[in-house]
Symmetry: C2
Subunit: 140 residues, 2 copies
Amino acid sequence: MEKDKKRSDCPISCSLDIFGDKWSLLIIRDMMFANKSTYGDFLKSAEGIATNILASRLQSLEENKLIEKLEHPDSKAKVLYKLTQKAIDLLPIIVEIHFWADKHFEIPADIKAMIKEAKRDKDEFIKTTTRQLKKQITTQ
Amino acid sequence: MEKDKKRSDCPISCSLDIFGDKWSLLIIRDMMFANKSTYGDFLKSAEGIATNILASRLQSLEENKLIEKLEHPDSKAKVLYKLTQKAIDLLPIIVEIHFWADKHFEIPADIKAMIKEAKRDKDEFIKTTTRQLKKQITTQ
DNA sequence: TATTTTTGCTTGCATATTGCAAGTGCAAAC
DNA sequence: GTTTGCACTTGCAATATGCAAGCAAAAATA
């Protein structure tokens, strides 16, 4: 899509360029915490992403090696999207965003519970969750 | 600008909606680490933001209470932009983004040094830097 | 076996956002 | 009193978005 866009040397900038808008990060979040893994899953998500934007973001995420497209075990009509290690490494960022959001916004109860658990022991939560996500990569 | 845009309940989404694109976060980062505080500072930044976009982002950041406009002590022609506590609370997110970028991108040497220091003792770095930024708010 | 449904997209098009260049108004310097 | 610096605004072409509709392959259903 925006392949030839200039990328500055600033690490935040070059990392944020990968995401472009909020949708890419939301897709990754949904894969991490909401067990979504197909096109339909993302489309049905509460966030309400448009189908052409979803297609574009999935393509960009794949190009940037944050997700992989695999054959779905249930059906050839389906595509299974999986996180890469590079994406799993985003977990600390996502956790911190949740903490910040929790402090400055109204958060629905169920997510608040997850945040509370993560807050109890942040490092342990990140370690455990990372291990679980990694297991999903290596098995299957 | 995009005032009436629907905001979902997802904490990542509602937080990321504040930023919209990378520019808002880059402005905050430049205020935190590059000591930038005026319109001209941001415009001259290496990132190369367009002037109308800068104006739009500064307005949105102010509306979302992440920055404040103050009189510049040197001149009435200048405007002094300052971080709020809400923005300072973003520091852990920004630090984690740098860690991630450091792992997956080429980072210029000077920034790499800062990241290295932060990595030595993350919690201490965040605590110290937060204290410094808070001092900039309260004095003056 | 024929038909309908599901799935993962693509296409068209009106609208919104961006990036660039130029301009404006006020304050300060000369 | 004229020029320069600063913080924006404005106009406009190019790009990106959001919505609805379409589409081919696979799976489910009749």
